[in-house]
């Protein structure tokens, strides 16, 4: 166990995901996500053909999150544990983050731009939002707060094949390394370098 503060990451193993949809359904149910919004989405390429690959895409909670950098009203912010949150009361729904995000994580409900969910919605890492943990307001605006309960995000907890791994950066890195060693090649850690670049980043 590292003595430094935990830093949360996702590991998306493109060599393991079977597109069962467990993560998508569990996320919606846990956070009561409205229809048409997907905080995590499984994307399949080459469907039905050799090379068919599935990738589950949540918000990666990037180390130097480009969405945070472009948000004109500072509605987006990075918590000390690395989780990137949006404050829905500050968000003006401009959509800049959507263009900045390499993963397409920000979601904008169609139709009712000024409703409670009219502003940007995205994966919270099941860590609620800026409001009082477990409050009715937090639940209504952001969904559940499993992190405050000492639990992992729902998607990773239910993943059939452990393709989606969440947790403290060092623990997650151990899983990534173990799989890389076993496979002898390609880690399959989709989006890892983009979300968590090791070198300096412009």
């Amino acid at each position: 166990m590292a003595l430094t503060t935990a830093r949360m990451k996702f590991y998306i193993d493109a060599k393991r995901c079977i597109e069962c949809g467990g993560c998508e359904v569990a996320c919606k149910n846990e956070n009561n996500v409205p229809q048409g919004i997907a905080r995590i989405r499984v994307v399949t390429v080459n469907e039905g053909q050799p090379g068919e690959t599935n990738i589950a895409v949540p918000c990666m909670h990037c180390s130097k999150a480009p969405c945070v950098a472009v948000c004109p009203v500072d509605a987006l912010y990075t918590r000390p544990d690395g989780i990137v949150h949006v404050n829905k009361e500050t968000c003006i729904g401009c959509g800049y983050c959507l263009y900045a995000c390499p993963f397409g994580a920000p979601q904008f409900p169609k139709g009712e731009p000024f409703g409670a969910r009219g502003v940007m919605d995205k994966c919270t890492y099941c860590a609620g939002g800026p409001d009082e943990p477990f409050s009715e307001k937090e639940r209504r605006f952001y969904g559940s707060n499993r992190i405050a309960e000492g639990k992992l995000p729902m998607c990773a907890s239910v993943c059939s094949t452990k393709a989606l791994v969440a947790g403290d950066a060092e623990e997650v890195a151990k899983v990534v390394r173990a799989r890389a060693v076993a496979r002898g090649s390609g880690v399959g850690a989709w989006g890892w370098e983009t979300a968590y670049p090791t070198g300096p980043r412009l």
Binding site: K15, R16, I18, E19, C20, G21, G22, E24, V25, K28, N29, Q35, E47, G48, Q49, P50, G51, E52, T53, N54, S160, T161, K162, R179, A182, R183
Partner: protein, 741 residues
């Protein structure tokens, strides 16, 4: 299941899902675990990553599972036997067989050799569509990478010769020496929660619990267990003959309603039908099911959701929908595909008017006048079953303890003895100490136990048998030989007992027959005696290449009843017609019409998808799942679609030869154009219901109970055809034609 039982002695998966972590090759044939058993993929992918196991996927569809395979073979649906025999042929030609296994632990290898000789690679390629080169590649991969497992599901069994198909999978594993060892085995995956348990406790119409059959000895044994006089039991039946006659199966019960009683194996029609957690949209011949539901006097549909059954028939009364409690609302023990038992905790009281299964059954017994006998073994120290069950929704946990105790008492045949309520509850508390690869507990009060105490588990200190037929460990630790089920000698005089030097460790080092009366001695004295000598109660016998007591003793290829290859029908015809099978006539040859291939040239196959399960009354009523897969569809290859002028998303009609009525059945569905299927085959998921031949039945659901998604049932167009032994429906291979709607 029947196929496994006819070869090894037990109708159950021989190893367990976690054990695939020990495999060096994994042949997945006629199944799609990535959609139907998602969690098992953890084990399969671990074998692939850590052991560099070769994953071989054999299927008419390039499934989501095939995407993870090192080798994918596109097999024409219904041609498994030629494919497997082709492999065995190559294995024998190269001397790759396990001679010790074959010589010491099997019966009539010569008969198998003679049969497989007919299937040279060229013949196999012609029948199956799998090339000579690929066949060799698979045979070599299996031979070079032992231990290997063969896993299958309904793709192997839903054929008119399904039992024979399964036997050939078993034969392949015997020849490779993959039986009775970690990482090997014949690992059929059961497709529903506790379906292995349902089979074990006598869900089939031909046996009492524990596979005792329904002859007089079986009834006497169970009457003793149930503590009721045999004569009383006999008096409940019309005659002794009917008592001992197998009943209808779920595949064809409706013929018991529709056919003239003169054609049936009983002198009246079925008058009432009680559905308990079963959907009609998973049964083939939907229009006949519909007509039966219109003709039968009484229908009861006991389910947490309103199913297809309630809306399918055109009738206004005589149909009762009763809300059942879900698994979250009741305690139970369940048996999974690994033969593992688990205790289930109730999470909430039954909601609204829902009632638990046990409450309903006891109430039913009360109303039918045999409640006293029905609950005789409920002897717990609790207050007891109420005098009147009329208003009772649920019963205390101890009633479920008593049910399991009764199972422990009577089901000696397959060792359902040591899985007591106390041990299952203790395992539930200590789940964290079990190793993921071996399923064995390390330390704690459960030290050394196998997770789930998989049967056979011979007494309350026995760890259970997580891998069947394993001779390298003693019986006390879960070792066993093949079951000596067929006596000491075959009809041809050859021995059916294992050879000297091939027996579970620590006991007599040779074959031996089953312990006398081990399955009926309720004192368990016979079992104790065998265990004390390190002998397995069910004996140490030989697995059979030749199952002399069933049709096709050595399996041979038979074209599906609806074959797209008239030329092959001539050479490999289906069975002769059968006058009576499970009380209904079962024609074969007279239904196999070579001319159909011209009118209906496309192979029709069906299966499941990950978002939905079975008849899906529950899943289609779940918004999140419906959002992911909102409507019924047919998978069509781009070539076939283009030839018919069909574009992705177009409405199409699928028409099939409706053989029993002489009129074609049809369904209207959306086209999904994809290369998953080949250009000669279309695929339909079978989960939808609530639309019949283009007409929505949604308005017939009681107010507020219609699912979010209704759609045509694949089984409206699946063809006639049933397994020669089990009567399993032939829904994996049929014929159809398509038209743009």
């Amino acid at each position: 299941m029947a196929g496994l039982a006819q070869v090894f002695g037990f109708g159950a998966m021989t190893n367990h899902q976690n054990d695939i972590r020990n495999s060096r090759s994994v042949m997945i044939i006629g199944m799609n675990p990535a959609e139907n058993h998602p969690i098992s993929m953890q084990h399969i992918l671990t074998a692939k990553e850590v052991n560099r196991a070769v994953i071989i996927s054999v299927d008419p569809r390039f499934t989501k599972t095939s995407a993870f395979a090192n080798i994918y073979c596109r097999l024409r649906s219904g041609t498994d036997i030629p494919f497997i025999y082709g492999l065995i042929n190559i294995i024998l030609a190269n001397g790759w067989e396990d001679k010790k296994m074959v010589n010491e632990r099997t019966y009539d290898f010569e008969a198998l050799k003679a049969e497989v000789a007919k299937f040279d690679a060229a013949t196999v390629a012609d029948i199956t569509g799998v090339s000579k080169e690929q066949l060799f590649q698979v045979a070599k991969a299996m031979a070079d990478n032992r231990p290997g497992t063969v896993i299958w599901a309904m793709g192997g069994t839903q054929h008119s010769n399904g039992t024979a198909v399964v036997r050939t999978y078993c034969h392949l594993q015997l020849v490779l020496g993959n039986m009775g060892r970690p990482g090997g085995g014949c690992d059929v995956f059961r497709g529903h929660d506790s379906i292995q348990g349902v089979t074990d406790i006598g869900g089939g119409p031909e046996t009492l619990p524990g596979y005792y059959g329904i002859a007089e000895t079986a009834w006497k044994h169970w009457s003793k267990v149930w503590d009721v006089p045999y004569e009383w039991m006999l008096s409940r039946f019309k005659s002794k003959e009917m008592m001992e006659k197998p009943g209808f199966t779920v595949a064809r019960w409706y013929e018991g309603v529709l056919l003239d009683p003169k054609e049936l194996g009983q002198d009246t029609n079925i008058k009432a039908v009680f559905f308990m957690g079963h959907s009609t949209n998973s049964m083939s011949q939907m229009d006949r099911v519909k007509r039966a539901l219109e003709k039968v006097e009484l229908i009861v549909d006991f389910d947490p959701f309103v199913t297809n059954t309630a809306v399918l028939p055109d009738r206004t009364d005589g149909i009762y929908v009763m809300p059942a409690a879900t698994n979250y609302e009741q305690w139970c023990s369940s048996t999974n595909t690994n033969r593992d038992l688990q205790w289930r905790q109730r999470v909430v009281d039954p909601v609204f008017e829902a009632r638990t299964d046990l409450a309903i059954l006891i109430d039913l017994a009360e109303r039918l006048g045999f409640k006293k006998q029905f609950i005789k073994n409920m002897k717990g120290s609790w207050k007891g079953v109420p005098a009147s069950m009329k208003e009772v929704k649920a019963l205390p946990e101890q009633t479920i303890d008593d049910v399991l105790r009764e199972v422990n008492m009577g089901t000696l045949s397959i060792g359902y003895i040591g899985q007591t309520p106390e041990r299952l509850k203790r395992q539930q508390q200590w789940a964290h100490v079990f190793d993921i690869k071996t399923k064995k507990a390390v330390g704690g009060p459960v030290d050394g136990e196998q997770w789930g105490l998989p049967w056979p588990c011979w007494h309350d200190k026995h760890p259970g048998t997580s891998i069947l037929y394993r001779t390298d460990i003693p019986v006390a630790q879960g070792g066993s030989g093949f079951r000596a089920l067929w006596g000491p000698k075959a009809p041809d005089g050859q021995t059916m007992l294992a050879a000297e030097g091939s027996a579970p460790a620590g006991g007599p080092n040779a074959g031996y027959p089953a312990q006398k009366e081990y399955a009926t001695d309720l004192t368990r004295g016979a079992i104790k005696e065998a265990m004390a000598e390190g002998r397995h109660p069910y004996g140490n016998g030989r697995a059979r290449f030749n199952s002399w007591n069933i049709p096709d003793p050595v399996p041979t290829h038979r074209e599906p009843i609806h074959s797209p290859r008239p030329d092959l029908i001539a050479k490999w015809p289906t069975y002769d017609d059968v006058k009576e099978h499970y009380r209904v006539p079962q024609p074969y040859k007279s239904m196999q019409k070579p001319e159909w291939a011209k009118q209906y040239p496309i192979v029709l196959t069906t299966g499941r998808i990950v978002e939905l399960e079975g008849g899906s009354a529950a899943e289609r009523a779940d918004w999140w799942l419906v959002e992911l897969n909102p409507e019924m569809y047919v998978e069509i290859h781009p070539k076939l679609a283009n030839d018919h002028g069909i574009k992705n998303g177009d409405w199409v009609w699928i028409e099939s030869p409706e053989d029993m009525d002489g009129k074609p059945s049809r369904i209207k569905v959306k086209a999904k154009v994809t290369k998953r299927v080949g250009p000669d085959t279309v695929f339909l998921p079978y989960h939808w219901g609530g639309v019949f031949e283009g007409k929505s039945l949604a308005s017939k659901y009681p107010e507020g109970t219609a699912p979010y998604s209704v759609g045509e049932s694949a089984n409206t167009v699946t063809n006639y055809g049933y397994d020669r032994v089990t009567q399993m429906q032939e829904t994996k291979t049929g014929l159809c034609r398509i038209k743009k709607a």
